[in-house]
């Protein structure tokens, strides 16, 4: 630690801190432009000058480290003059644009011009006129306003890792430029508008729409992926105008998916009032009529419930109450991406914070397209890789990342047993083992060399596994995860405090759901199968879009053709024309409620917007249904709802502290562990599968009903489209086939699709983009390929 004096106050900061950071930490105002806490120091704006006693000229505080006993002065007549001169320089080429600039009112340049500027420039020569750039659908440019702080360039290099922004020319000709084809290549591009301290880079979708001071802001949680980023929703008259990361939130950035999903809030896919089917049309109805009709679909009927995990905790508990009180033995499912509903040895959720993943010695990604699914987590790993710490990856494809992957191995989904068994061999030779490991290994004959990478990483002092969708959606996921659990225990990474077993979930609130529905849940596929088999009368879909999302679209379509559909939700999804009744439930921006992210972090949303339509919070809709079905209402307010949550999940004391003791969160909600069950590999089933494994691919711009209702994201989805169907060229060569139109034979028949090739994928696998032409096939586990005719 270093002790220094800032304006005669003694302060203590860690050694090596810059003067500017020391001032910021101690709430001493120093003006700056180019400094950004998440970026490297460029020290080019010279706005951050301070005086240091004994130094004969002012120092740029952002790049001057503190030293013992240093006496820093941040306000003096000399500095005032320096600052006003800096402002005069910076404003030489800056247009007098504030009245038409979106940054106006939230602009550092404007603020400092008022505070330190002189009001009149002496420059009378020609002003430079750099031209604007087309950086794609999210970032608007007005380059005459640029002050060359290079924050955007550093962002593209250091954070996005795309390096597509740069500085061209020099001196007076210097200009910021982007090399882009259709759009910036980063899924974090929306942050550029936030980090530009002036109005040169601005948010394009909200451009010229409203002024900063017209908006109200409230804190909320993004539910577009399980990361659950802290966001600020900026709204005007209950309409969401913009979503931005919360300053001082856990993560400094949010992804474009979470940021631009907001136009879906007012899309025509919203369910804004109760709707009833009359003939073959849906017509607006009153709540009373709709509820009355809904009761006829539920009372005494065989019901299947499929709901979305992304509702608030209170909403989810209300679904459980409806399930328990209102309905008779309904089948219930919520995960559209999980085929195996047996409890996993380590169930969904992380045991570590994403932040702590920077620290561990080894991180192993098992079967996940992390950049598409968890862009912010990927960002953490990138930060880690930039520090020279290794990331190992085993999976079906060298999924494109923006980060260094130290070891990268390709495997087919059916190889996972052999990968795990190979790693077990290696640990066993070193005398590391766990009870039950021999039995597990005994079931697997084959060994896959990728297991060596896994074992090598496991031998480190600390190791985090990130188990992704390729394993989680596996038909025999419980056995695989059991195997991984054994490995982690054998390697000593399962103990409290250094537990590295992380299973990436597919939705929010995963820890709560696996506790709350343990033993009750089935796989979504089974619910649809029951409907198809005539074992159900009604499907109750609560916010779930099984046609648009997940692995069971084909089955869902077939099921929905057979049974009545009661849809409760905020958005219709791809169920157009199928519902018999629709009940509106308020969107996540419109409710007070609690959310748990994949790390187990709890967020309570307050001060919601008014619902744009007649939507009610989900828990109220559920209570209304329970009442209409002839039962006492178990909860009449949010507090009572929360008491029910604690009864259902008594271990979740963190929730209790936050809700009822008004405490800040200390403990993270733990992921569930199921040590009782032993699940051994079912290799025979794998061997009986068709010739090629299927891996479904996910586009962050197309998955999820909210995302699909967003026009902004649709545009990004078009630009960053995934290939429809691809295989490794060797796979085709072996079968004497050629890329082009081929027949894909699956359990549901033979269809022709255009098949392309890529060399950075595992042979023996067919990659199918979920939202591509062959989307329905992405839900199959294995297929055969045949010639074009």
């Amino acid at each position: 630690m270093t002790v220094l004096y800032i304006n005669d106050e003694e302060v203590t900061v860690p050694a090596g801190t810059s003067i500017l950071e020391a001032c910021r930490e101690n709430n001493v105002e120093v003006p700056y432009f180019c400094y950004h806490p998440e970026l490297s120091v460029a020290a080019n704006c010279r706005m951050c000058l301070v005086e240091v006693e004994g130094w004969n000229k002012p120092a740029a505080s952002c790049c001057t480290p503190v030293s013992e006993g240093m006496k820093v002065v941040t306000q003096s007549a000399g500095l005032e003059k320096d600052r006003s001169m800096m402002m005069e320089y910076l404003l030489i080429h800056h247009p007098l644009d504030c009245p038409v600039c979106d940054q106006g009112g939230a602009c550092k340049l404007q603020d400092y011009a008022v505070e330190h500027g002189v009001g009149r420039g002496r420059y009378t020569e020609v002003k430079r006129l750099p031209s604007d750039k087309d950086l794609g659908p999210f970032v608007n440019t007005c380059m005459t306003r640029c002050i060359h702080c290079t924050r955007c360039v550093r962002f593209a290099d250091e954070i996005a890792g795309t390096g597509d922004m740069g500085v061209l020319n020099r001196g007076d000709h210097m200009k910021i430029d982007g090399i882009v084809e259709d759009a910036l290549a980063s899924e974090l591009s929306g942050n550029l508008g936030d980090i530009c301290p002036v109005g040169a880079l601005l948010d394009k979708p909200s451009h010229d729409v409203s002024r900063p001071w017209e908006m109200t802001r409230h804190k909320s949680t993004c539910t577009a992926c399980p990361q659950g980023c802290d966001i600020v929703i900026e709204s005007r008259a209950d309409e969401v105008m913009r979503i931005r990361p919360l300053k001082g939130g856990v993560e400094p950035w949010i992804c474009d998916r979470g940021r631009y999903v907001y136009d879906a809030f007012r899309s025509d896919k919203r369910i804004l009032s109760p709707m009833l089917r009359v003939g073959d049309k849906l017509e607006k109805a009153s709540w009373d009529d709709a509820i009355e009709k809904a009761v006829t679909m539920l009372k005494g009927k065989r019901v299947g419930i499929v709901f979305s995990p992304d509702w608030s905790v209170e909403g989810l508990a209300a679904i459980r109450l409806l399930h328990d009180i209102g309905l008779e033995n309904p089948k219930v499912a919520f995960d559209l991406h999980r085929r195996d509903s047996r409890p996993f040895a380590f169930d969904e959720g992380l045991t570590m914070t994403t932040e702590s993943m920077e620290q561990v010695d080894q991180v192993v990604i098992l079967g996940s397209d992390l950049r598409q699914r968890f862009p912010i987590l990927m960002q953490r790993l990138r930060k880690r890789a930039n520090l020279g710490k290794p990331v190992t990856r085993i999976g079906a494809m060298h999924y494109r990342t923006n980060s260094e992957i130290a070891n990268d191995a390709l495997v087919r989904p059916r190889d996972w047993y052999a990968v795990i068994a190979r790693a077990m061999d290696q640990l066993k030779v070193l005398g590391k083992t766990a009870a039950g490991m021999d039995e597990w290994m005994g079931k697997v004959e084959a060994r896959h060399e990728a297991g060596k990478l896994l074992a090598d990483a496991l031998l480190a002092d600390t190791c985090a596994l990130l188990v992704g969708e390729e394993i989680r959606s596996h038909e025999d996921a419980a056995a695989l995860i059991h195997g991984l659990d054994l490995l982690m225990r054998a390697a000593g990474h399962a103990e409290e405090g250094q537990d590295g077993r992380n299973l990436l979930p597919s939705g929010m609130n995963a820890q709560l759901l696996s506790a709350m529905f343990n033993g009750t849940r089935t796989a979504a596929g089974e619910v649809f199968a029951a409907a198809i088999a005539g074992e159900l009368d009604t499907l109750l879909l609560i916010g779930s879009d099984p046609i648009g999302d997940g692995l069971f679209s084909r089955k869902a379509k077939e099921a929905l053709a057979k049974v009545d559909l009661l849809q409760v939700g905020s958005i219709s999804g791809d169920m157009v024309g199928l519902a018999d009744i629709k009940l509106p439930a308020a969107a996540y921006s419109e409710i007070e409620g609690t959310f748990i992210n994949m790390e187990g972090r709890v967020r309570v949303a307050e001060n919601p917007l008014r619902s744009l339509g007649e939507g009610r919070p989900l828990w109220k809709v559920m209570m209304r249904l329970i009442q209409a079905l002839g039962h006492d209402v178990p909860a009449v307010n949010l507090t009572e709802m929360r008491e029910h949550v604690l009864t259902m999940a008594p271990d979740f004391t963190a929730l209790k502290d936050i809700w009822f003791a008004g405490k800040a969160q200390e403990d993270f909600i733990p992921a569930q562990r199921n040590r009782k069950n032993v699940f051994l590999p079912n290799v025979a089933k794998m061997n009986a599968a068709k010739g090629l494994d299927v891996v479904g691919r996910y586009s962050m711009y197309k998955e999820g009903a909210w995302v699909r209702a967003s026009k902004l994201l649709a545009e990004a989805g078009r630009i960053h489209a995934l290939d429809d169907v691809i295989v490794h060229p060797d796979t085709l060569a072996e079968m004497k086939l050629q890329a082009g139109d081929l027949t894909i034979m699956s359990n549901v028949g033979a269809e022709r699709f255009t098949v392309g090739t890529r060399t950075d994928v595992s042979p023996g696998v067919v990659f199918v983009s979920k939202r591509g032409t062959a989307g329905d096939i992405s839900g199959e586990t294995s297929v055969d390929l045949g010639g074009g005719q």
Partner: protein
């Protein structure tokens, strides 16, 4: 030497680049000399050439562009076979460089950025060539002509037009 559709270094060049790159701690550091090579081989640094250089050295296109645009001696536009660079900085200016520059432009009938119809000449005004003792200085490709006069330059131009290689 006009650039082909897709510029490509010759095998010999690539070997030379590998040898050169080995002298630096990182391959990327060989950027400046490799850009000169590319300029020599392809006449100027088109966007395609810059892309190729980026690939050869494992750099991002933007990193290459930043260097290319920073230094005026990297040309992004084609020039005539002979590029006449007239220094008009202080020492040369007081020794009549401005008049010389005007005279030469007039003789050739071109402005900076243009090429004479026979494809032989381009002309440019440059800052101090670092040879003030010989002011005014005209650089013709890589060769300096010191104490240059209008007569000298006219003669030089005629000799080149007559087919003499200098």
């Amino acid at each position: 030497m006009s650039a082909p559709d897709k510029p490509q270094f010759s095998e010999a060049r690539l070997a030379e680049i590998d040898a050169l790159a080995a002298r630096y701690p990182s391959r990327k550091s060989a950027l400046m000399p490799v850009l000169y090579m590319a300029q020599q081989d392809f006449g100027y640094l088109s966007m395609d050439t810059q892309k190729m250089v980026a690939e050869v050295l494992g750099l991002r296109l933007m990193e290459v562009r930043e260097v290319v645009t920073f230094y005026t001696m990297f040309k992004e536009q084609p020039t005539g076979k002979y590029l006449l660079e007239v220094c008009t900085n202080a020492s040369c200016m007081v020794n009549g460089a401005d008049a010389l520059y005007a005279h030469m432009k007039n003789t050739l009938g071109i402005e900076p950025g243009q090429i004479t119809e026979d494809g032989l000449f381009s002309i440019n005004e440059v800052e101090c060539a670092g040879a003030c003792a010989g002011a005014p200085v005209v650089q013709v490709n890589n060769m300096y002509h010191e104490k240059a006069t209008a007569t000298d330059m006219d003669a030089l131009i005629s000799r080149i037009r007559a087919g003499e290689v200098i």
